[in-house]
């Protein structure tokens, strides 16, 4: 059974600081997704990572994938308050078709 673990689960940081959220998964996969969820809202797609070594950047967020280590990171640079949200990673297991298995989510709060 595929397990996806994120850490930290809760992250409080000050504006202007950098931090990294980690996503580990337990079986072979080369498809990993990052989503953002604001309170009471649905999931917004941030990044799709489809190969080992993939790196994608959008604004202050950068995501990477290491399929050998079964690890993805979401790096936040010079955080701003608008980044406060819950971030989920999700993995497609190779034998499962296309269904997503989600991590527990990281609740990020950026304080002024």
């Amino acid at each position: 059974e595929l397990k996806v673990e994120q850490n930290p689960l809760f992250l409080s940081m000050q504006e202007g600081k950098n931090y990294t959220i980690y996503c580990n998964y337990s079986t072979t996969s080369d498809r990993l997704y990052w989503y953002r969820q604001d309170p009471g809202k649905s999931l917004e797609s941030l990044f799709v990572l489809l190969s080992n070594g993939a790196v994608k950047q959008e604004g202050r967020l950068m995501a990477s994938l290491d399929t050998k280590a079964r690890l993805s990171t979401l790096h936040i640079t010079a955080a701003v308050h608008d980044l406060s949200a819950t971030y989920f990673c999700a993995v497609v297991e190779e034998t499962s078709g296309s269904r997503l298995t989600f991590g527990e989510g990281t609740q990020l709060t950026v304080n002024p």
């Binding site: 498809r31 997704y33 989503y35 809202k41 649905s42 999931l43 917004e44 797609s45 799709v48 489809l50 989920f88 999700a90 497609v92 499962s96 078709g97 296309s98 269904r99 997503l100 298995t101 989600f102 527990e104 989510g105």
Partner: protein, 113 residues
């Protein structure tokens, strides 16, 4: 263009009643997924439709849950004899075939009293 839409946005029902939740995927998307999000269980896969293939029902938690997709487009998730533990936000997503980026709808918040 229009995204994934779901209805109703909120549904309050009494224990033991049946409910139907509707999902309209993005036009042209061949794959459709149902997930649910609850406090205790996080985000869980329920069922997946891909074109005319048999759906992957492996995530449905009990035989009270069923779903259908008519004409390769709209999908309905039905929960029979609802229980309090069915209370959750039910999310629908759709995607093209190939490496799928799944786009999520706004969800239906189900409360079973």
């Amino acid at each position: 263009g229009a995204g994934v839409s779901q209805s109703p946005s909120n549904k309050v029902t009494e224990k033991g009643k049946d409910v139907e939740l509707r999902c309209d995927p993005i036009s042209g998307h061949t794959a459709l997924y149902w997930y649910r999000q609850s406090l205790g269980q996080g985000l869980e896969f329920l069922i997946y439709f891909q074109g005319n293939s048999a759906p992957d029902k492996s995530g449905l938690p009990s035989d009270r849950f069923s779903a259908e997709r008519t004409g390769g487009s709209v999908s309905t998730l039905t929960i029979q004899r609802t229980q309090q533990e069915d209370s959750a936000v039910y999310l629908c997503a759709s995607s093209f075939t190939g490496p799928p980026e799944q786009f999520f709808g706004p969800g239906t918040r189900l409360t079973v009293l």
